[in-house]
Amino acid sequence: MTHLTRLLAGVALSLSTTAHAADAPAPSDVTYDEYGAVDASLTGEPGDPAEGAKILADRSLGNCVTCHQVSDLADVPFQGEVGPALDGVADRWTEADLRGIVANAKQTFPGTIMPAFYKSDGYIRPGDAFTGAAAEGPLDPLLSAQQIEDVVAYLMTLKES
């Protein structure tokens, strides 16, 4: 009985995730303002900062620490120095700015090395993940709409003042 309930709860959860994903704008439909900011939440749901922290550190997800140092994630080894340290980003940027930077940093910093995490086309020789083979069919963005919101929610906690 308990088992069944859990199972059903699981199904309900995955159904609701799908529903939200369907509501989220496609990457090409996201509107950026002239400075690259995105005002509206991509999902209409608040992000989960704890999930966001995991996404920043996980190699198979955002892997943001490849390029950025984050003192708050001091237990994550080998943080990179290709991008600026993210300490205090919430003091420097608004939530809308950060959403834009994470979704497609090229709108805020033209030509930046930082990959666009909510984008799914316009690539040169896109691959099938890290296999080196050609991508088959349309690509998913590197992070889902909800994962972008989770990352933004985490970045909003990085305050120094």
Binding site: Q79, G80, Y123, I124, R125
Partner: protein, 282 residues
């Protein structure tokens, strides 16, 4: 007072190029007798793009660096010995060995330093692998080796080893120029879902840490490279393949026209550095 001056010059150095350059320049001498130029004036090929060119050796840890100082410590030299045996082995219907035409590998000293280069007879830019395959098929009437096979990569290690210490000097003008231009285009193209070009990592960010990796200039003067990570010799085109794959892109194939052009271009970015292969990397 003394202390202050030291600290501030340290800061300036660190600000200029990251930790690697704040230290005194290390010097590589192999077997106590072959001095290796690991840092050279920027050649014409990188005019305006790099202030100087630096071997990947300088970016490795002191432990990894020291493995290259002595052939008895360098695991890549085992493959050089294999290739020396191969050099004297008769192949094909006429029982010809490399040594039938070239006597000793030392006779080929200097070749590694000038390849890839324009081949008049075939009307194309040839890599050293293509030249070896030309000898196998056209002079020895036997089968070509697969581009990144062990036989081929070991032979590359032997040919590099007898040229160690000589300056890389690849020609980029004349008939090779259009291939060089094609290689340059590839070097600056942002491939894959991560939209990264060779230049994003190896020109804009050398000296910086990319997660656990200390980014070098991605020079190929040290190839083939024995990598501690996979405990084998790695060929130039396999390295290119790995780097492009890491951008979530569809790679090119070893021996493809794209990688031949890219090799010519990347080799020319190291003009003036010493041939250093087989090198040791992590």
């Amino acid at each position: 007072m003394m202390k202050m001056t030291l600290t501030s010059s340290g800061l300036i150095l660190a600000a200029l190029g990251g930790a690697a350059f704040a230290q005194e320049e290390p010097e590589l001498v192999i077997n106590g007798e072959i001095p290796i130029t690991t840092r050279a004036e920027a050649p014409a090929s990188v005019e305006g793009a790099l202030p100087e060119v630096i071997s990947g050796w300088e970016f490795r840890s002191p432990e990894t660096q020291s493995l290259e100082e002595d052939d008895f410590e360098n695991p890549g030299m085992i493959f050089v010995d294999d290739a020396r045996a191969q050099f004297d082995t008769a192949m094909g219907p006429d029982d010809q060995a490399c040594s039938s035409c070239h006597d000793t590998p030392e006779d080929l000293a200097g070749a590694r330093a000038v390849y890839p280069k324009w081949d008049e007879e075939h009307g194309e830019v040839q890599t050293l692998e293509m030249q070896v395959n030309e000898c196998l098929t056209e002079r020895m009437s036997t089968d070509a080796w697969e581009y990144t096979s062990n036989d081929m990569t070991n032979m590359m290690a032997l040919l590099a080893s007898v040229s160690r210490g000589m300056p890389v000097n690849v020609a980029i003008d004349g008939p090779a120029q259009s291939t060089w231009e094609q290689g340059k285009d590839i070097y600056y193209t942002r491939y894959g879902q991560l939209e990264l070009a060779c230049a994003n990592c190896h020109e804009d960010n050398y000296g910086n840490m990319l997660r656990a990796d200390h980014l070098s200039q991605g020079q190929i003067n040290g190839f083939p490279a024995y990598r501690l990570k996979n405990a084998q010799l790695n060929s130039v085109h396999d390295r290119f393949k790995g780097c492009i794959r890491d951008t979530r892109a569809e790679t090119f194939e070893p021996g493809s026209p794209e990688f031949i052009a890219l090799e010519l271009y990347v080799a020319s970015r190291g003009n003036g550095l010493s041939v250093e292969g087989p090198s040791v990397r992590n």
